[in-house]
């Protein structure tokens, strides 16, 4: 009864913003500092001090965000750190208190399904604010074999936005993708069926998580692409869920590959749909492979598929979950184009042409680059400035 009371007690409406505010203030606006420095160009700017970061996750917009770091001891006093789990899918299940009815039900369910989680390569953790001894007793009593983490200082519960105003973690579970971003949040955990619900969710997320596993598992991430340098191959899921590898640069007589960072919603990107389709039609016949990439965090495969169908795209549009590929190519906007030759060397980066209005186009930069590559000539204008909607990244 006590546990039920505690677990169901809603936090004050103001608690999350208040905690955010406190966190941000305490860190001297440190929350923003990392994101800011990642996305600014300094032009002899005055130094802006880097301060400690205290981030509090907003549960309503957590999916796609970077999962807050943690390093907590389990029932055996062994420390588990999120940083050490890169490349693995992680379930992080917060619960209010050890040795209570709802939490015992949830823990038993997760314990019973541990084999299923392992089969999917998923590491399960439960987290509450009680100490290691309490965890030990709870695990012994319930026969729990997976790590139960003790967040005694409540910092992890706080940073995940689940710390109730009663000082206990609320019952909220997170699925963290192999690249460290949050893939799903369950705020309506049902202790009795939670294991089953999590497994169903993991199965639904499988294509995206699998791709991320491969990307994250690479010990040395490929370097950022550079003009006139070879481009490392990559693999992403097409909007139909099928994995597509981009990187066999001369397979089946391919003479060049065009990568187009595109968007479903951006009107500038959409203003180029017809031009992209026409270019693909013309140049696919000449051995050029066209590949669309959608890196916007809010644009899901379903919408990408409908959009591609609506605009009769002849080329695949790959979902770049976690904007891994956009980061590698340092793509900033949609539309933004890249041309890679049959040896896998980057030969062009920039805009498609020089006018948003099709009727006023005077310089067809992408087309000119393709003509040069196909003719074995050096591309005259290798880098042009693309204009469009900023790619909405995670983190």
């Amino acid at each position: 009864m006590n546990e039920r009371h505690l677990s169901e007690k809603k936090p004050m409406k103001t608690s999350l913003p208040l905690l955010c505010l406190l966190g941000v203030t305490a860190a001297g606006l440190g929350c923003a500092s990392r994101a800011y420095s990642d996305n600014t160009q300094s032009t002899a700017a005055p130094a802006v001090a880097t301060e400690a970061t205290t981030t509090v996750l907003n549960l309503e917009s957590a999916v796609g965000q970077a999962a807050p770091a943690f390093a907590l001891p389990d029932q055996e006093n062994k420390t588990h750190s999120l940083a050490d789990l890169k490349g693995k899918t992680v379930v992080l299940a917060f619960y209010p208190a050890d040795m209570t009815a709802g939490c015992s039900l949830e823990a038993r369910g997760l314990s019973g399904a541990l084999g299923e989680f392992k089969k999917r390569g998923v590491q399960v953790f439960c987290v509450s604010v009680q100490d290691v001894n309490s965890k030990k007793q709870f695990c012994d009593k319930e026969g729990i074999k997976y790590p139960m983490l003790a967040d005694v200082k409540r910092t992890v519960s706080h940073s995940y936005g689940v710390l109730g105003d009663n000082g206990l973690a609320r019952r909220v579970s997170f699925i963290i993708a192999p690249d460290g971003t949050i893939a799903a949040v369950d705020q309506n955990v049902k202790p009795l069926t939670h294991a089953k619900d999590l497994l169903a969710k993991l199965d639904a997320l499988k294509p995206a998580l699998q791709v991320q596993t491969r990307t994250s598992a690479q010990t040395t991430p490929p370097a950022k692409v550079q003009m006139d340098k070879p481009v490392a191959s990559f693999s992403l899921a097409n909007y139909d869920g099928k994995n597509t590898t981009v990187g066999d640069w001369n397979a089946n007589g391919t003479k060049a590959t065009v990568l187009l960072f595109v968007s479903v919603q951006c009107p500038i990107s959409n203003g180029y749909n017809e031009r992209m389709v026409n270019l693909a039609k013309t140049y696919e016949a000449r051995g050029v492979r066209f590949v669309g990439i959608n890196s916007n965090k809010a644009e899901a495969p379903d919408g990408i598929a409908a959009h591609a169908k609506e605009h009769s795209f002849s080329f695949p549009v790959l979902k770049d979950t976690g904007n891994v590929i956009a980061d590698r190519f340092e793509a900033q906007v949609t539309p933004e184009a890249y041309v890679i030759d049959d040896k896998g060397v980057l030969r062009y980066h920039g805009r498609i042409d020089n006018s948003l209005k099709q009727a006023e186009v005077k310089t067809r930069d992408l087309q000119a680059a393709l003509d040069s590559v196909l003719a074995g000539r050096t591309v005259a204008d290798k880098e042009t400035v693309a204009f469009g909607c900023s790619i909405k990244r995670v983190g």
Partner: protein
């Protein structure tokens, strides 16, 4: 018709530049002058890159933020209220924000002006004149990659460009940028 419209726009731009050049402070003071402007919809003037640079130079002595935005840009719409608030809170300390829309000229009256009005912007602002692909290299010749919206150029009191901020940022993030410059 086009010539006439261009003439009116250029005339309007000149008037604004004249107003900016005599203004010692920020946007607010410029707007306060003509009573008619206060009651009417915010004025939005087509601006070329050189004219925008002049407008920025005319505000020397202030910390100037030049925010490129568009009504079609989700991130721009998201950060806009924070910029309006920032201008309001920091106007007296010499912060001046110039809004430059990347919308099509044909959307000026139907989309740009209503959005600015809804956001409570009463000061004159701008819309990129002509093709954005010609405007960008003239305004930022050093840019080699991509120009995504929103994008905000930050100038110190001496008129020197100190930072380029993108994509959308929050009030706190902008505050963190301008405070060391005040």
């Amino acid at each position: 018709m086009i010539c006439n419209r261009r003439f009116v726009w250029q005339g309007g731009a000149l008037l604004v530049l004249a107003a900016l050049s005599v203004s010692a402070v920020g946007t607010d003071r410029v707007v306060a002058k003509p009573a008619a402007v206060k009651a009417a919809a915010p004025a939005v003037y087509p601006v070329s890159a050189p004219a925008l640079k002049k407008a920025i130079a005319a505000r020397r002595g202030n910390v100037v933020l030049v925010n490129f935005w568009a009504t079609w840009c989700v991130g721009c719409r998201k950060e806009f209220p924070d910029l309006v608030k920032l201008q309001k809170n920091y106007a007296k300390r010499g912060v001046s924000i110039l809004y430059v829309s990347g919308d099509e000229a044909s959307d000026r009256n139907s989309k740009v002006v209503p959005f600015l009005k809804q956001q409570g912007v009463t000061a004159p602002s701008y819309i990129i004149q002509g093709d954005v692909f010609q405007f960008i290299p003239q305004f930022d010749p050093n840019l080699k990659t991509a120009f995504g919206l929103p994008r905000t150029y930050v100038y110190d009191r001496s008129g020197k460009l100190v930072k380029v901020v993108f994509p959308e940022k929050s009030y706190a993030e902008f505050e963190k940028v301008i405070k060391p410059l005040l």
